[in-house]
Amino acid sequence: MHYFNIDMSRKLNFLIVSAGIAIIALLNSCTNETIDEEKPTISINYSDGFPSACENLNRGQSYTIKAKVSDNLELASYSIEIHHNFDHHTHDDQLVDCTLGLVKSAVNPLVFSKSGTINGQLTEYEINQAITIPETVDTGDYHLALSVTDVTGWQARTSVDVKIIE
């Protein structure tokens, strides 16, 4: 009777330990990471946001591009790009249509590209980028494209028509 009890007790201990290992294995191997399916947001549509759609930018003048970005999890990086729209192309993320000049060929178009990282595990941030429009670039229609990327890799984009004038 005494030996039988010891045998049962060992089996019981073995079962408990094994069940514990099984549960730990299950939890470790199967930790379902929460999938971030939410894209960040980007907006220039607030009082300090710049430029507004259809804004005129003078050659030789300096401006500060400002946009608010946010994400549910963590912001990672942003980029600002200006390219000419002399061919009247459009982007899917454009919200406002502006009156465009005539289609023309580019001679010395403004090409501006700037990207930066957003450190500090932030969920809200304001892009603040100074730019001076060179005196020598082609006047006409341009797109100013802004994008922000979150830590997962989702990107939000917005672009506005701007016009470079004399």
Binding site: K11, F14, L15, S18, A19, I21, A22, A25, L26, S29, C30, K39, S77, S79, E81, H83, D87, H88, H89, T90, H91, D92, D93, D97, L100, V103, S105, A106, S115, S147, T149, T152, G153, W154, Q155, R157
Partner: protein
């Protein structure tokens, strides 16, 4: 009947390891709205100079696409070549391989937008554009389009 507990538990453990968490394969990137030439959804401004599928020597050629990846994009490659064209004297068959690893493209959802300068001495004819998107998992997706390089017709008003 003697129950072999150790065998049962071992079988249970093995089963958990095998079936509980088999990782799903990550799908390759998806390319849509791949366009060469044209003015990208510009339905309001009809313009023969920027007809889709047409380019002109000495001018920029618009290439655009929307890309969804299931693992971050690591590169986008645009390969331009022709199999059919025999260049005349002073002309070249335009061949280019452009690899883009710009920060703005290393994401899950990218909008490809590139304006590529066509050499002024490029021979006229049909060209192919092969777009390849590769992700962090090493998956890649390729789409092919073609365009005609034509002499620009000057309009006299």
């Amino acid at each position: 009947m003697k129950t072999n507990y150790s065998k049962i538990v071992l079988a249970l453990l093995v089963t958990i390891f095998i079936f509980s968490c088999s990782e799903e394969d990550i799908l390759p990137p998806e390319i849509s709205n791949f366009e060469v030439g044209g003015t990208h959804h510009d339905e309001d401004h009809e313009d023969e100079d920027h007809e889709e599928g047409v380019g002109h020597p000495g001018e920029e050629l618009h290439i655009g696409a929307e890309i969804i990846a299931y693992s971050k994009i690591t590169s986008i490659t645009i390969d331009i070549h022709s199999d059919e064209i025999t260049p005349a004297s002073g002309e070249v068959v335009w061949e280019d391989e452009l690899v883009y690893t710009d920060q703005k493209y290393l994401v899950l959802n990218a909008e490809l937008h590139e304006d590529i300068m066509v050499p002024a001495n490029a021979a006229l004819g049909e060209y192919h554009v092969i777009l390849t998107v590769t992700d962090e998992e090493g998956n890649s997706t390729t789409e092919e389009e073609h365009f005609d390089l034509r002499k620009k017709i000057m309009m006299n008003n």
